[in-house]
């Protein structure tokens, strides 16, 4: 039994924010006498200052942003603990972002101190940004190592408790049955259609290569945001709601048992769409009710859809029937 890497990864994500706040405070206190009354707080693309604020307001904003993001990333690292691969990436991004911000703020304070009085004269070299990104990248590498290896086996997803255990649908021997339902959101296909329309307009007015940047994601969104889920003598079949292809089928002979359960798309599967992770794969279009079929390989195949209990019960009955037929 390996220790959970979550506490360590929370530190990797959030500690740089605290350190950065400390560094900014120390820099401010040591340069205080030489800083202008109004600090240059933002640098335009030409390297000269284009926004100014009092030191107090500036520091309050910086501390708020740093601590806020530190807390946010600590929370996210905790929240996504059942997907260790993504947890590691999140921790490193959170820590790296704090390093970059801290570096830039310290450099900005020093640039303010260097002009000796008039913040309008503040110049800021682009190299500072390059060095800042480099520092963030170095921290990213160190943080990646500090995060530790992903645990080989995550205990069966804690949120995925079965709401119904292997019920059967009472069918007479002569009866045939099938279950079918649309799954997915209504907003995503609408968004996809808007994207397609925008793509068409861009294509006509600005040329098709530019239009494709909107047409391709729009098409994918329309195609994959809604799905028809069918349970029948052929097992579970999932197809896009608007097209008969691509078709994903898990035949009855590969299914040992089905149940209805609740899934959290992000926490259990790290996102939406066709998801595959060790021990489970499936079509996850939203969080909530889902059919979960235990396969002969021991893995789970999951499809999020309403009325999953009926579908799971039918699936169990059909699989029983198939086994009884000596299939």
């Amino acid at each position: 039994m390996t220790m959970s890497p979550t506490p360590r990864r929370t530190l990797v994500a959030a500690a740089p924010a605290l350190v950065a706040c400390g560094a900014v405070l120390v820099t401010y206190l040591s340069l205080r006498d030489r800083l202008p009354d109004r600090l240059a707080t933002h640098i335009g693309p030409d390297g000269s200052a284009d926004a100014f604020d009092s030191p107090g307001a500036f520091l309050a904003v910086i501390f708020g942003v740093q601590l806020g993001f530190g807390a946010l990333f600590a929370y996210l690292v905790h929240w996504i603990r059942s997907v260790p691969g993504q947890q590691r990436v999140l921790a490193v991004i959170g820590g790296g972002a704090a390093v970059l911000t801290g570096w830039m703020v310290v450099a900005l304070l020093r640039a303010n101190a260097a002009v000796g009085g008039d913040a309008g004269d503040v110049r800021f070299s682009g190299w500072q940004a390059v060095v800042g990104f480099a520092a963030a990248a170095v921290y990213g590498l160190i943080g990646w190592v500090l995060c530790g290896k992903n645990p080989a086996h995550v205990e069966a997803q804690p949120t995925a408790t079965a709401t119904a255990t292997a019920p059967r649908l009472g069918l007479r021997d002569t009866e045939v049955a099938a279950w079918s339902r649309l799954a997915g959101s209504r907003t995503l296909p609408a968004l996809g259609i808007v994207l397609l329309a925008v793509g068409l307009v861009i294509g006509v007015t600005a040329g098709w290569p530019s239009g494709l940047t909107s047409l391709v994601p729009g098409g994918v969104m329309v195609l994959l945001s809604g799905a028809r889920v069918t349970v029948d003598r052929r097992g579970i079949t999932v197809t896009p709601a608007v097209a008969p292809w691509p078709r994903l089928n898990v035949p009855l002979e590969r299914i040992t048992e089905a149940s209805a359960r609740r899934v959290d798309a992000f926490r259990d599967f790290g996102g939406w769409g066709y998801r595959a992770r060790p021990g489970a794969s499936g079509i996850v279009l939203r969080s909530g009710e889902a059919i979960s079929a235990r396969l002969t390989t021991g893995d789970a195949f999951v499809v999020t859809v309403d009325d999953a209990a009926t579908a799971a019960a039918l699936l169990n009955t059909l699989a029983d029937r198939r086994r009884a037929d000596g299939g």
């Binding site: 649908l169 002569t174 049955a177 099938a178 079918s180 339902r181 029948d232």
Partner: protein
């Protein structure tokens, strides 16, 4: 939406399929505006003839519960409430009861007309 049919029962398969949809609308598991699988898909799922399924769907269209669009499949109409589906069921029960009593179609219609004018 659960379709279940029994080929060994005396009731025509198309009628059984219509009964499944009516029941699903009546118990609220299928709502107005919902799209049902196409007749072709249902036929493949159940292993029956597509025209059998279409007959069931057409019956539901005649009852005002389903809208059939070429190439767009079958959509439950806006008027198809649970009460409306129950009413269609009652109409079928009335007809089968009348037939069992040996009434002709004309006599059944006359009976309904008499209720309408009397109401």
């Amino acid at each position: 939406m659960l379709f279940r049919v029994d080929p060994s029962s005396g009731l025509p398969l198309g009628e059984q399929i219509a009964g499944c949809v009516r029941g699903a609308i009546a118990d609220g598991s299928v709502r107005a505006g919902e799209r049902l699988p196409s007749a072709r898909e249902v036929a493949r799922s159940l292993g029956v003839n597509m025209h059998t399924v279409l007959r069931g769907y057409q019956q539901l269209r005649d009852e005002g519960l389903l809208e059939l669009r070429r190439g767009r499949g079958a959509v439950v109409t806006g008027e198809a409430s649970p009460r409306r589906a129950q009413l269609a069921d009652q109409a079928r029960a009335l007809v089968s009861d009348a037939r069992a009593l040996g009434l002709t179609d004309g006599e059944v219609i006359a009976l309904v007309k008499a209720s309408l004018t009397g109401g």
